[in-house]
């Protein structure tokens, strides 16, 4: 097992957090893992992406050019990462913001109106976790239960109220892929 996942969006869309949930889940399941963010001087609103590696082998390079999976939360990320996904890989697209269709035919494209679904659940900021759910329904690189455990164990005490809504967002993303709506 070896997956290289890039999650990318506007700063504030939770790309880094979704990546951390995935990384913790991999750790719980005994994988070798790494998480690395883009980091820049801007604290809010810039582009933000992270690279997560889950593997059975020790992680060498924590950065990759051609990820096996990309989750894109905004149009700029779509433009940047669609061409880079490795052939046979997966591209998870937030169609609430990314209007154009994907051009690639050699990868699996998963289209999810994540902002709308998150909004229906009560908080548009959970679009990141909806997309993570959509990925896991497409390819269970970690179990959803491990992601939920990561939410329980790693979300700090003063933000405990977001755990249950985030679990629902994860399930909603999975359900959307399974049922097509």
């Amino acid at each position: 097992m070896h997956e290289e996942v890039i999650i990318s969006g506007f700063g504030g869309q939770g790309a880094l957090f979704a990546g951390q949930l995935l990384t913790y889940a991999g750790l719980y399941e005994g994988r070798q893992v790494s998480w690395i963010p883009s980091y820049g001087p801007e604290m809010r609103g810039g582009t933000a992406h992270c690279t997560v590696i889950l593997s059975d082998e020790p992680v060498g390079s924590p950065i990759v050019r051609n990820p096996t999976i990309a989750i894109v939360l905004n149009p700029a990320s779509m433009d940047k990462y669609e061409p880079l996904v490795a052939p046979g890989g997966i591209l998870v697209v937030n169609t609430s913001l990314v209007r154009r269709p994907a051009q690639r035919s050699d990868i699996t494209v998963v289209r999810v109106p994540a902002n709308d679904l998150a909004h229906e659940l009560g908080n548009v900021r959970m679009a990141n976790v909806v997309l993570l759910g959509a990925l896991l329904a497409t390819k269970p690189i970690v179990s959803p239960d491990s992601v939920k455990r990561a939410m329980e164990e790693e979300i700090p005490a003063h933000r405990k109220h977001i755990i249950e809504p985030n679990k629902r967002a994860l399930e909603r993303g999975m359900q959307y892929v399974a049922e097509g709506r």
Binding site: Y24, W35, P37, P62
Partner: protein
């Protein structure tokens, strides 16, 4: 103890705490500020000393002061801040007091940027400040190794009464990996008869780097050189990865080395048998081990996030016995494994 996922910077901080660091002094600078922030929360709750200094000059001289009293002490910074610390580090080396300094390197020269770099190699391994001194420099490649080497750094600083540096970079500082930490114990100080703790029941101690009489200062220098000789004889560390059958020996340390590891796996799929020699101590540099490793290979490729600084040590080790190629990226640009594979192929193709 179970593994926990930690950012490199936080892991460095917690490792220092587990190693019994009694005092931390620092100044904010990206990409290492998480160390300072982490320490600002943890040190006071453990009853240990923390000061956000007025500058890196202030920080390193607070380190010097605390070190003179025999405390285990650390500072962390990034490249421009490390330049400012050179003054204090030279004094610490000459005064023969133990201290640990971490440089989470970023792109330079000047203000540069905040992306990963290895361009402070000369400054860190060749002295950096004024005078003949030669700090121990440890180069972690993973977050776990950063933890292990920070702990080792405190032990080596104590053992040799010299400053010990951790040479890291923004990538290692910012990335998260699982780590296993040793247990938290109260700080224990070894016997330090030289420390400034008040002259109670003993003759008074003086710690100074001033020796106006040349033969006396020469003696101090000879003693330092004797220490560095012992360090060279006992503390060289390195890792070899897939070197046994390698035609191409790639030499890299820290972040560059882990990118090279991935590149080696990819290159071998394409039929290029490559291996990695990774110095863990970049000072003392494992010259002899590298020479032996190089003799097994046809060619060498040095990969650095710089214009070619460690390259000079590789040349000193190998001399002209094997062709030595170089691939480097500057200014905070980090190569992808594929870029390294291309450089490896090019090195093997060149006549």
């Amino acid at each position: 103890m179970a593994k926990v996922l930690m950012k490199g910077n936080e892991a460095i901080a917690e490792a220092a705490i587990r190693a019994g660091c009694e005092a931390y002094f620092g100044y904010p600078i990206t990409p290492q500020s998480e160390v300072l922030e982490y320490m600002s929360a943890r040190m006071p709750e453990l009853g240990r000393a923390f000061v956000q200094a007025e500058s890196e000059l202030g920080a390193v001289n607070m380190v010097y002061g605390a070190a003179c009293t025999g405390a285990r002490v650390m500072t962390t910074t990034s490249s421009p801040g490390f330049s400012l610390m050179q003054e204090g580090l030279s004094y610490i080396a000459c005064s023969e007091v133990p201290a640990v300094a971490v440089n989470v390197m970023r792109g330079g020269p000047g203000l540069g940027n905040i992306q990963p770099s290895q361009a402070d190699y000369f400054q860190m391994t060749k002295g950096g400040g004024h005078g003949d001194y030669s700090p121990i420099v440890l180069a972690p490649s993973t977050v776990q190794e950063a933890v292990d080497l920070v702990i080792l750094a405190f032990d080596l600083a104590d053992k040799y009464r010299q400053p010990v540096y951790i040479i890291a970079d923004g990538m290692l500082g910012q990335m998260m990996e699982p780590v296993e930490l040793p247990e938290l114990k109260p700080p224990q100080r070894p016997e330090r008869p030289w420390a400034l703790t008040g002259a109670k029941g003993r003759p008074r101690n003086i710690i100074t780097s001033l020796q106006l009489d040349p033969p006396t200062l020469e003696k101090v220098n000879l003693r330092l050189q004797e220490t560095y000789k012992r360090i060279r004889e006992n503390e060289q560390r390195y890792e070899e990865y897939m070197t046994d059958d390698a035609d191409l020996l790639v030499v890299a340390y820290g972040t560059a080395a882990r990118i090279v590891k991935t590149a080696i796996v990819k290159a071998r799929r394409d039929g290029l048998t490559a291996g990695l020699f990774r110095p863990i101590t970049v000072n003392p540099y494992p010259y002899d081990a590298l020479r032996r490793a190089a003799e097994k290979a046809k060619r060498l490729l040095v990969v650095e996030l710089s214009a070619g600084q460690m390259l000079e040590d590789v040349r000193l080790a190998v001399m002209d016995k094997r062709p030595i190629h170089f691939f480097g990226k500057m200014g905070g640009v980090v190569p992808m494994p594929e870029d390294v594979v291309d450089a490896m192929k090019k090195a093997m193709a060149e006549a």
